[in-house]
Every structure is written in structure tokens, then in C-alpha cells.
Amino acid sequence: MLLESAERFLGEHSSSQVVRAAAELPSGVDLALWSRVTEELGWQVVAIPEACDGLGLGAVELVILLEKLGARLSPIPFFASALAAMILRTVPTSPEQTRLFEALAGGAVVAFAHTDARPDWNEVGVKVSSAGAPHIAELNGEARYVIAGGVAEQLLVAARGEGGVRLFSVPSDAPGVSVRHRPTVDQTRSLAEVTLTGVLVEPGCELAADWERGLGVSLDMARILSAAEQVGCAQEALDMTVAYVGERVQFGRTIASFQAVKHKAADMMLKVESARSLLYYAACTADAWLQGSADDQALREAAAMVASAAGDTAFFVTGTGIQLHGGVGITEEYDIQLYFKRARALEAYLGRPDESRERLAQMLLDGPELEGTVHAA
């Protein structure tokens, strides 16, 4: 039901024209479309706990939606919204947590700001400093690559404190906060830079102290959600390529009749379906984590696997899509290049596929044996 309504709605309201129009905006986000989604479809409540006006569902449902949004490159901040809900589920219960859940359920955009320019996406990259625990804290520093940062009402800011990593809730219009839009190579998805200069935060807005583990989990959740967009993006690129080669005639034949083209398409599908199988597993694992039946290690493994596979898949499939489009593939007029740019952006986001494989290699080769790989049902 979720799937069909999503397909129907996006088919109608998230056309290529809508995507291209949003790409012209500095924020890259179509807030009117987001309002329709929140008001008519209510996707933003999917992963919010029932106690906070949500559906209390999890990654499986988010992944279904994000696959469809990835397929349409829809210019709405759903990824940020979904990720914020997941992040909030890693922190202890507090009034501020409840307030943010309710804000998300109401359609507010909440963005996650955690890393500096280089070199890493994990806790090493947290460079915003915080001082003043347990009283009013002062935040200073910069976070980059903030998705939907330009339209967020609220920021979730990871900061370095004496005790390790802390997570704060900061209104984006708080004194000392400045947000700068950054246009990107992927024209359909802008990234913001957030600068914090002497930003004072009430103790109640410290969502978590000692949040290093939570940060790891949040990044893994982000990788899984992002993989859903990648799978959707790749599937759509495959579909539009198969459609194009079925129409395009060269040497008196549709180019779809050339075996080399068919075999490329078969390889594309092999990768898409493989990534999708891992994606569904990863989503189930994320939900198992939320329910306490999978540990951080299982989540990390699932996230590394799907990030590697979905990243490679989306890049390969969209790149091959351009190739099979031939000359028109490199024109602005055709959409395949937009998918290619999105695939490249997502492949790099939160670490390249080879970096995911190295994380996995550490689990497989450097520590004690992974549990349950053979024995899990």
C-alpha cells in the first residue's frame, strides 16, 4: 500500500521538470512538494514512535519509500527527516527528544551535522567543540556536507567534548549559527555548511553525552537509508536505459537487439537485484537493532555490506546507462546524467565502497570471528 501510493504520488508530482526546477533553487529542496507529502501522505511519521504521534515503524518501511524517492530523485528532505528519527532513537529519552519527534511528525526538517571537510566520516571527523557540561554548553566549529541543512529548522549537532562525542539539538536560527548553501556536482541535492560561533545551548538540549556508539549506529543507519536511494536510483537508470535502447535504431536494428547491449543490461540487473537483496536484509537488521535483537556489530556489518554493494551498483548502472544512451546520454536534456550524478554523490557520501569493504575486512580478519554468519537463519 505504502509502495503503490508512493509510486502513484511521485509519478504525478515528482516529474523530471519538478526535479530540474528544484535544482535551480539554492537549497535544492522543493518545500511545497514536501508540504504536500507531509500533509497528504504523512511519510514523515513512519519512523516516529507511536507515543509521539508516529507510526512506530522502522527501516523496512523507510527503505521502501527511499527506494522510490531515489528512483525519482525527488527534491524533498525525506532522507534527512528519516535519518533524524533514527538518530533520535539512539539517544536516551528526554523532553527535547520528545519535542523533536513531535516536530518531525509535524513535518519539520531536522538536519544532521557531524563532520568536517576531511578526512573521515566517523567520529574522527567530529570537529565542532563543546565546552561547559553539564551546564550551558558553548559550541564552536564547523560541520560540512549537511544534507537538507539549508532548509532545516533544527540541527542535530555532533560535537566533541571532554568525555567524547556529544549530541546537541540546536535551532538553526540560534544566535551564532550560520548555514551556507553549497551547490554540488549532483545538481539535485545540495549540501550545506554549518558554522557555529559561540552558540550557547541549554543543558536540556544535550540529547546525549558519550554518544560515540550512537554516532556509529547513526552512520550505519544513514548508510542503509542512503543505499535505498541508491538502489532506487540504479533501478530507474536501468529501466530508462532499457526503454531507450528499445527505441533507438542503429544499423537498421534497435540497439537493444545487440547482444553487447543486452549483456550490459543483464549485468546492470544482476547488480541491482543483488544490492536490493542486501538492502532488504540490512533494513531487517536495522529494525532488529531497534528492537534490541541485533547488536551494533550486526548492524555495522549489514551497513558496510550494503554500502559497498549499493555504491558500486548505482555508479556502474548509471554510468553504463549513459554509455548505452550514446551521444544523448551526455546531454543535459536527458535525465540519465542526473541519475549518474546522484549515484556518484551517494557513492562518496559516508565513505567509498572500498572503505566499507575495509571496515568489513577489519571485522572479518582483525578481530574475533563474526558470530552467526553460518548459523543465522
Binding site: G246, T254, A266, M269, Y281, S308, L364, L365
Partner: protein
């Protein structure tokens, strides 16, 4: 996607595991883990005895209807059986072809007489079967079958002339099912019929094909007047293509998770070796080991998607990629194993050519992307059936 089985299924799992623990020991301890791909020619007598033991325990043909001695097991139960069988190190199943191909074919297309004559012996682990599809001139092209079946009016038998190839275990089997041309005026899919033929007879010769491993799992089978009775024609004369295609459709993926269990054992060995000999510290091998791990997990979740899909008889997208995916994964694992072994990979323990397990894996997996539909054929199928792209034209030659 279903990641877990129901409590009843888990109960069934325990039953399988405990039976195997109790029986795959003693005289059968020596054949644990043996007789798999690349090792099929070993311990044949012991493995036949094991088939009979399995049968006595009611663990052959569990997917068949109870009427024919099966358990009418669900897909999930069959998956579980295959998983536990692989986990327990159950030896390569000599009864595999009879149980998974001949049986279902006879249940769907066979006469009452054929069922009664053949099914009980398959079920009892008493009769072993091999397949007679491929021919030298028709590797991936079944419709190019040249083996003829001629009606001998005098003796009232069908007589066969021609050659089949890539017949595994022919020299250990009792029967072969044969796709042969009964109407030589017809070409392609037409004029073919499907027969059940005893192997031990005049006019039938089995010659092993030595492979690059130096071993011979496959055979050529030459027919020069070998015969079968008219009762051993399955379906109608000329119905062979329909029967053969139906047979290929019986593979529902229940054995995939068991197969993956064997793959996991191989990958575990590679990982153990890498940790032991320091290959695990080489960045390029780390990447490839991680890829292998991802690939195997992908096969697993792909299979679970297949099994939880709609049961409308059509192949789902994830099912259509499975052969291409597993065979290339396995072939890459073979190469990875050699690279993890390092320089020693090149040395053969004893003359003339006694390969160790990983060397054999390396060489034998080159066949994985060839038999049962080459990579090229698989990609055609995916493009044509799953993506609806134009079919390859046949030539006129």
C-alpha cells in the same frame, strides 16, 4: 523478506540435525564432506550405502507427496533439510538427479505404470539416475539434439543412436533419461521425445571425460542401438520438449541455501588461512575477502527473497540472476583461495596430480560458469526474459 523460520520449522530443523548427528558417523564418518563438486567420483559405494540409510530414515525425497513415500515437505522444510545436510557435512548426494529431476518429472508427466516402476526405487536409495540432455554439438542449445530414437517394430523397442555428453555420474548410475529425436524430419523443439533408459545394456558405452583437474566427474554416453521399452516413453511421442522444459522448472531453489553452506565452509577456510599466513594484512586481499563475504551474503538474501516470493511458477527477477551470481562468485573464490595460499598454491603435494582442496576448487570452479548455461546464455536469458529485450536470432547454418 523472511529472515527467520517459524517455530514449527525450527522444530523440524532440530529433528533433521539430530537424525544426521546420530547417523552420519561410524562407518559414514569417512564420507563427511566428500563427494561434492570436483570430488564426485570418490567413495561411491559408501555413498550408495548412505543413500539407503537416508532412505530408511525417511530423508530421501522429502518434497515428494506422501503417497510416493515423501513427506510432502514445504519449501521451507526442504531448505532447512538442505541447510542442515550441508552443515552436518553430508556427502554429495548420488540420489540427487533421481530425487529432484526424474521424480518430479514422472509425478508431473509420467504414467501410473512409470511411477510405480521407478519412484519406489529412487525413494529407497536403490536406483540412481543421470541426465541425458547435452550433446557435443548442442552445449547450450538443447533444441539442436541429434540423438535419434528409432522404433524397432520387430523387437517392439525404441533404439537409440547418438551421443550425450557432460553426463555426471553415468558410470555409477542405473538409468539415464534421454531427450532424443523421434521424428528426424523435424528440427528444433519439434520431434523430440523423452525416454527412461537403463544404462547396463548392449549398445551403450560410457566414457569418462578427464578434466583440467585430472579427474573425471563427467562422461560421454554413446548410444549404438541401446534400447528401452515403449512403456518408457514419458508423455506422448513428440512431447519431449515440453517434458524437458517442465523438468528444468522443478529446480525451485531449495538446494541453494545448502549449496551456500558449502560455499561458507570454503570461504571460512580461506579466511582462516589468510589470518594464519598473514595474507590478511595485504590490502588488495582484504578487499577481495570482504567482497567474497558480501557476495556470499548476497546469495543468501537473494535466495531468501526467492523463497519468500510468490508461488505462481514464474521466475522472479532475483531467481533469474542466481546462476550468474553464484557461479561467478564461486569462480572468484577459487582464484582468491590461490592468491591467499600464496606461492605455495602452485605446489602439488604428490605426483602425479593430487590437488589439494583449494587447488581443486580453483580449477573446478572454471566449470561453474559454463555448465548449466554459460555466463553468456545466462545473460541472454536475463536480458530477454527479465528485461524483455529482443531475442538472439538463430542462424541458418
Amino acid at each position: 523478506m523472511q529472515l527467520e523460520f517459524s517455530p514449527a520449522d525450527e522444530q523440524f530443523r532440530n529433528e533433521v540435525a539430530s537424525w544426521l548427528r546420530d547417523h552420519l558417523c561410524g562407518e559414514f564418518a569417512a564420507i563427511r564432506g566428500r563427494g561434492g563438486p570436483g570430488d564426485e567420483h570418490h567413495f561411491v559405494d559408501e555413498r550408495k550405502a548412505w543413500e539407503r540409510t537416508l532412505a530408511e530414515g525417511g530423508w530421501t525425497c522429502i518434497g515428494w507427496p506422501e503417497q510416493w513415500g515423501g513427506r510432502g515437505a514445504t519449501i521451507e522444510q526442504q531448505v532447512i533439510f538442505n541447510e542442515e545436510y550441508a552443515r552436518a557435512g553430508g556427502p554429495g548426494r548420488l540420489g540427487h538427479i533421481g530425487e529432484t529431476l526424474t521424480g518430479p518429472t514422472l509425478l508431473a508427466f509420467g504414467s501410473e505404470q512409470q511411477k510405480q516402476r521407478y519412484l519406489p526405487d529412487i525413494r529407497a536409495g536403490q536406483a540412481f539416475w543421470c541426465q541425458g540432455y547435452s550433446e557435443p554439438g548442442a552445449g547450450s542449445d538443447l533444441s539442436n539434439i541429434k540423438t535419434r530414437a528409432e522404433w524397432d517394430e520387430q523387437e517392439r523397442v525404441w533404439r537409440f543412436y547418438g551421443q550425450k555428453v557432460w553426463t555426471s555420474l553415468a558410470h555409477e548410475s542405473d538409468f539415464i533419461f534421454v531427450l532424443a529425436r523421434t521424428d528426424v524430419s523435424q528440427r528444433g523443439h519439434r520431434g523430440l521425445s523423452f525416454f527412461l533408459v537403463p544404462l547396463a545394456q548392449e549398445g551403450l558405452e560410457i566414457r569418462p571425460i578427464t578434466q583440467l583437474t585430472g579427474t573425471a566427474e563427467f562422461n560421454e554416453v554413446f548410444f549404438d542401438g541401446a534400447c528401452c521399452s515403449p512403456e518408457d516413453l514419458v508423455g506422448e511421442e513428440g512431447d519431449g520438449w515440453r517434458v524437458a522444459m517442465g523438468l528444468l522448472g522443478f529446480e525451485r531453489g531449495v538446494s541453494t541455501l545448502g549449496q551456500q553452506m558449502l560455499f561458507q565452509v570454503e570461504l571460512d577456510e580461506v579466511i582462516r588461512l589468510a589470518k594464519e599466513n598473514g595474507a590478511s594484512r595485504q590490502p588488495a586481499l582484504r578487499q577481495r575477502i570482504a567482497e567474497a563475504h558480501i557476495g556470499l551474503r548476497t546469495l543468501r538474501y537473494n535466495s531468501l527473497r526467492m523463497l519468500s516470493g510468490e508461488d505462481d511458477g514464474s521466475l522472479s527477477r532475483e531467481a533469474m540472476i542466481y546462476k550468474l551470481a553464484w557461479s561467478n562468485w564461486h569462480r572468484n573464490l577459487g582464484k582468491l583461495a590461490m592468491d591467499v595460499l600464496g606461492p605455495e598454491a602452485e605446489l602439488v603435494e604428490s605426483a602425479p596430480y593430487e590437488l589439494n582442496r583449494l587447488q581443486s576448487l580453483f580449477l573446478f570452479t572454471r566449470a561453474d560458469t559454463i555448465y548449466g548455461g554459460t555466463n553468456q546464455i545466462q545473460r541472454n536469458l536475463i536480458a530477454e526474459r527479465a528485461l524483455g529485450m529482443p531475442r538472439e536470432p538463430r542462424g541458418d547454418a
